[in-house]
Every structure is written in C-alpha cells, then in structure tokens.
Symmetry: C2
Subunit: 389 residues, 2 copies
C-alpha cells in the first residue's frame, strides 16, 4: 500500500488506521495486525488495532460532524486536541483513572491511547446490576484532584488563565448549553418524549420558579471558570472492571463550574437508581454519598497544602466552597436528569424499561426528582438527605 498521509484532514478507514499506527510506530511489532472499527459513528471513529503479540491500541478520530438520532450537523474537529490535552492533564494528577495517551495528532484529529477492551462501560455495568465497590473512591479522588489542581486554589493564577484560554471550547459547550440547559425547558424541536409525558413536560415549561433556577444554573455554566471540568461525565464516559475505573472521552472539557462534573455523575447514578429494584436503590444512593464524602475529604486535604491562595487559611472558606459546590452539583444533576428524560439524548437506563407503564412511571419520577434537585438544592444539606422520591 502506498497511501501517503497528506497534511489535510481525512477520515481514516481500517486500512489507513493500520498504516497510521505502523508509520508512527505505536505498535512495535506490527507485521500481522487486525483492525476493527468499534465506535458508534455518531461523533468519532474508534479503531481497535491488535498485533500478533496481542498488543493493542485505540485510534480515536473526531469526525467533522455530529450525528444524533438521524440529525447531522458540522462540529469542530478541534475537540480531539481538547480531548488529548484534557487526558494529558488528568494523567498528570490521577494517571490511574484515565487511559494512557500515546499521542495526539491535531491535524487528523486523532488520539492514540490505551486499549481498555477488558473494561465495561459503567452504564452497562450498572444496568446489569454489577457491583463496583471502589467506584465512589475512584471517582471522588479523580474529581477532587483534577478539579482542585486546575482551580485557583491549586494552580498559579497566570498558568490557570493560560489554561482557560487553551480550553475555550465553544461548539461543544453550545451542545450542553442547548441540550442540557435550554431546550428541555422550552417547546424545542430537539426534545423527544413519550406522549404520556406531555402534561408533565408542559408543567415544566410553565413553572416560573423552576425556570428561574435553571436560568441561574445555566448562567453559572456560561460564566464560572472555576476548574477544568470533564464536561460530559455521565456513566457512559466511565469504564470499569471489578477494581479499576477509567474516565474517558473528555472532548467537552472546558473551564467551568466546580460542581458540573459532580452533578452529571450524580444524575446518571440517580437515573440508574430510578430504574432498578428497590433493594438496589439504596446501594446506588450510597455511590453518591460515598463519592461526595471522598471528594470533599480529598479536596479538603489538598486545600490545606495550597501554596497559591493565602486565603485558604481563612475560617469557613473551605466550608463555603464545599457548600456551594454541593448545591451546584444538585442543581446541575437536576438539569441533567430532566434532559435525559425529555431532551434529545436519552439514557438506556430508562429507555430500556420494556414495560411501557413502568417506563412512563419511572420517567415521571425522574422529572419530579430533577425538579426537586433544582428547586430545593439549597435546602438539601448533604447526601444523607437525598432521596429518590
């Protein structure tokens, strides 16, 4: 094969993906390699390439468009660079919780990284009633380290401001601004819900108190540049085994509010909790309370060693930061729960409920939970007071 990579973007095929890996030397021995495209094709191509020694890599390439539910729109391939940089940053602080990054190719919008084929997507694992006892500790630690060390408490102000500019990510943020914070609260064409939910949905559209709180949360998302956030930390962005956890896909990363990732993670655990049997539900709630405990304890211990912010010594400042982070997390979780129920992108946890009556009932519960988290976020003091209904 004589294909030459010219320096313009082109979509990889299984053949050119193999050639790319060989040319760049990502697999040392690569006489006989197999390549399989394993992505869902909506946003990215994902190739798994394995050699005769069973060594393998993942080649992920951003597509110049996004496809969701049949719709297709142009989308910047710059997100591959953002994803690579975010993985790089995460691995500096918590290498154990992200795939190894072997290289980023800005021109071709490619990241080459560790193959995690023996891992399972957390959402699938939870739907199969899997048990991941270390998950809360892993995610709590991941969040505490990555959020703290990108914030003004853990990073020199000049370096932080450089990062803010580097991670400006308008197109991916716009997806969240529209699909999480706006469309579900208006009669937008992008919404997608069963007819049986029409009344509940209209109640949302006409609830001025709810919408005021969503407006405030959206404003936070738009303006608060606290930390480098993953930006899309649902249970489909987490890989698990029995004792290992890997956060993947940070292409939505940007400098945003400290509670955003926490909230999205909580929301997706709660959506799963609503879909499972009662005896499993308390275990799901425990994931949330344990994750929050680990996050807040780890964040607190990093805080005491802050070398960049003199005010960390001030009484009650840490408590104030954590209190508002908790509240914001609940609010963001509420928006995520609502949009995953009636917006464009659903979750399998709810949609796969076969019995229609049950599915509608659970979705109504989801909407009620989302509304409660948004409007009561300042009066739910801690995870112990968090309930599904």
């Amino acid at each position: 094969m004589n294909t030459q990579f010219v320096p313009i973007y082109q979509m990889l095929t299984e053949e050119t993906a193999i050639k790319y890996v060989k040319d760049k030397g990502y697999l040392v021995q690569s006489e006989n390699v197999l390549c399989e495209e394993i992505g869902d094709g909506n946003l990215n191509l994902v190739f798994r390439i394995v050699n005769e020694k069973d060594q393998s890599v993942i080649v992920k390439q951003a597509l110049p468009y996004a496809k969701v539910v049949g719709e297709s729109w142009p989308l910047t391939i710059k997100r591959a660079e953002i994803e690579g940089k975010a993985l790089q940053y995460f691995s500096e602080h918590t290498p154990q919780f992200v795939p190894k990054l072997y290289g980023t190719d800005t021109l071709l919008a490619i990241n080459v990284m560790e193959d995690l084929s023996d891992y399972k997507i957390l959402r699938t694992g939870l739907m199969e009633e899997g048990n991941y006892p270390d998950l809360p500790e892993h995610i709590g630690e991941f969040l505490a380290h990555t959020l703290f060390y990108s914030s003004d408490f853990g990073l020199h102000q000049g370096k932080k401001k450089e990062r803010v500019a580097e991670f400006v990510n308008p197109e991916l943020c716009k997806i969240t601004e529209d699909l999480v914070f706006t469309d579900p609260f208006y009669p937008s064409e992008s919404n997608d819900f069963e007819l049986e939910l029409q009344k509940d949905v209209e109640t949302i559209w006409h609830d001025p108190i709810l919408k005021l709180e969503v407006a405030k949360l959206k404003r936070k998302f738009l303006t608060e540049a606290d930390c480098l956030v993953h930006g899309d930390l649902h249970t489909g962005s987490i890989f698990v085994t029995g004792n290992s956890t890997k956060v993947i896909d940070p292409e939505f990363a940007f400098y945003g509010p400290i509670g955003f990732d926490i909230g999205q993670f909580f929301a997706n655990i709660l959506l799963n909790a609503l879909s499972v049997e009662e005896e499993l539900q308390s275990k799901r709630l425990q994931i949330i309370s344990k994750t929050w405990d680990v996050f807040s304890q780890t964040f607190s211990s990093l805080w005491t060693y802050s070398e960049v912010e003199p005010f960390v010594e001030v009484d009650a400042f840490l408590e104030d930061v954590l209190k508002h982070t908790w509240r914001d997390s609940l609010g963001f979780a509420g928006c995520e729960i609502i949009r995953r129920t009636i917006g464009l992108a659903h979750v399998a946890d709810l949609d796969s409920i076969q019995d229609q009556k049950t599915r509608i009932k659970v979705k109504k519960q989801a909407l009620a939970l989302g509304r409660r988290l948004i409007t009561q976020r300042t009066i739910i003091p801690s995870p112990n007071q968090l309930s599904l209904y």
Copy 2:
C-alpha cells in the same frame, strides 16, 4: 533624522514619537509639530503631539515595567494591545464615552488616540469640588452598554468565548488580585499606612468574618467571566468636562464579574465623599444612586431586546442578576476603599488632607466604610440605604 523603526520594541523619545506620528500619517499636516511627554512615567509614556494647525494626537506607549512608589517590576507590554482592543470594543457600543482610537501598534505597544487636553481627570475635578451633573448618566450608560453587550445576555456564546480568550490578561489581573484583594488583608510588605492606623489595620487582619467575605469576593474576581470589564475604573481613569465624560486607560480589561467596574467607581466616589465637607457629601452619594439607577434601567431595557438568551423572558431573572450585581458592587467597592487607604496605591482625595488629625480620622472612617460594605453587602438593599458612616 534617519532613524528607522526596526521591528523590535523600543522606548519612544519625543523625537521618535514625532517621527512615528509623521511616518504613520496620524497628523496630516506635520511640518512644524511640538511634542511633550505628559505621562507620570510609572507604567506608560504619554506624548502629546500638536501641529501648526493646532491639531493634536496622543501617543501612549506601554513601558516594559511598572513603577509604583519607587519599586519597579517587569510588566508585559501586551497590555497596550488589550487597551487598544478594549477601547475599540467600548467605541462600538458607546463611542461618546471613550477617546477616539486612531491605531494600535502591537509591536511597539503603542496606542494613538484622540487628545483630550481640554478634559480634566475626574478625581482632580471632584477634589476641586467641581460639579458634573451628567456624570452619573454617562457612566451608568457606559457601564450598562459595555457590560451587557459583552455578556452572555448580549453576545452570542461562541463570540463571547473567543473574547474571553482574547482578553486573558494574567499580569494585570495579578496586580489587582494582590493589591486589591490580598495584601491589604495580610501584613504584606506592599502595604503603606500611617502608624496611627496600625490598630485599625490589625483589626482587619484578624477579623475572620471580614476575611471570609473578602475571600469570596476575590474568588469571584478570579473565576466569574461575566463581561468584559474595564478593570481599573477609578476616578483617575475618567476624563470630564462640564458636559462630557471619557473613560480611558482600559489596560486592565479582562472578562470578569459584572459588578467589578461599578464597585471600583463607587469606591472612588465614596473615598472622595469622605474627604469633602458635609454639604457636598450628599451630592457625592447622589452620584452613586443616580449612576446605579441609570445603569440598572439601561441594562434592563437592553435585556428586553436580548436575542441570544431565551431565559431573559423568565420572571425575576433580571431582578436576580441586578440584585447580585448590586451586592457584588458593594463588596468590590469595600475592598477598593480599604486598599486605597492602607495598601500600596493611595488616592489623593485622602492623602492630600493636610491636617493630620483630620486625615487619620477620615482614613479610619474609610476603613470602617470598607468593612461595612464588604460584610453588609447582602443587607443594603439599594443606594438609598447607603451611608458614609
């Protein structure tokens, strides 16, 4: 003269400033021109160049260092580009309130602009007990337009995020972070105050409630990217005549909290108010209440025409934004008043009080006012409840 401008930074002299203006054609007729350096030499060189027809321009060049009270430290000349861009942005929305910008030279860190020699620095005007009846309307309108149209309420999210990156201004922000929000609240070497204030200053350093509130305000300054703010809107950054107002020197411009400029303006009016006779004080307070009224009314009317944020239709969202803007303004004003009294950079309004006893008394009043604005900002509902003592 045969001097050639080579493409590296060099400090202008009166001679080379004239040559620069001639070469670039900023003064059409320039056979006989006069040039005078009129800056204070701390941060910038400012040349006034006038020709035989009495046409004139200002050539402002950023120095690669800052000098304050004898100290000197390196400082990026990139601030000239920021200043040029900010003036450009301001003039798109309120051309009547900024000097005309004729050109920006990034390499030489120069802005060439309208000569405002017939204007007076507002601080001087106020100290001379001048009367500027249009000032509140002008500043209120300037703030409303420039803040609104750079925010997510008035600017498309993608464009806004580009601007956030463009106006990343770490070195100038660090000056504010240190000198306004940190040093005055700690026994820092940069502080500068009379021995008679030692006890009051130590009370500040050991007041945990005050320091917690300052910590929160500093965090807002560090993280909240609401709007393009001027960043240094004290009464020395405003030129006035009897009926015209020009905002100058936006080299500290960056995307920051919406209340910051308002707060710095309030603070410097309040500092003046403390220094004048009682019968003049109420007039100074009226500047604040009128400016707030004009700002909030203008901002509110722009709000109703927002084409970028669907949530502007939500009940009470505007009220919420204005309420928090007001509170933040008071908090920022409190920090500015304290730092102008005991920090590195003082104001002439206080320092020029000849009688020492009076000066110390007024400075103590300033410290008390600053503390009150910071700690009571959530319970002072409107300008009518604002008092000096």
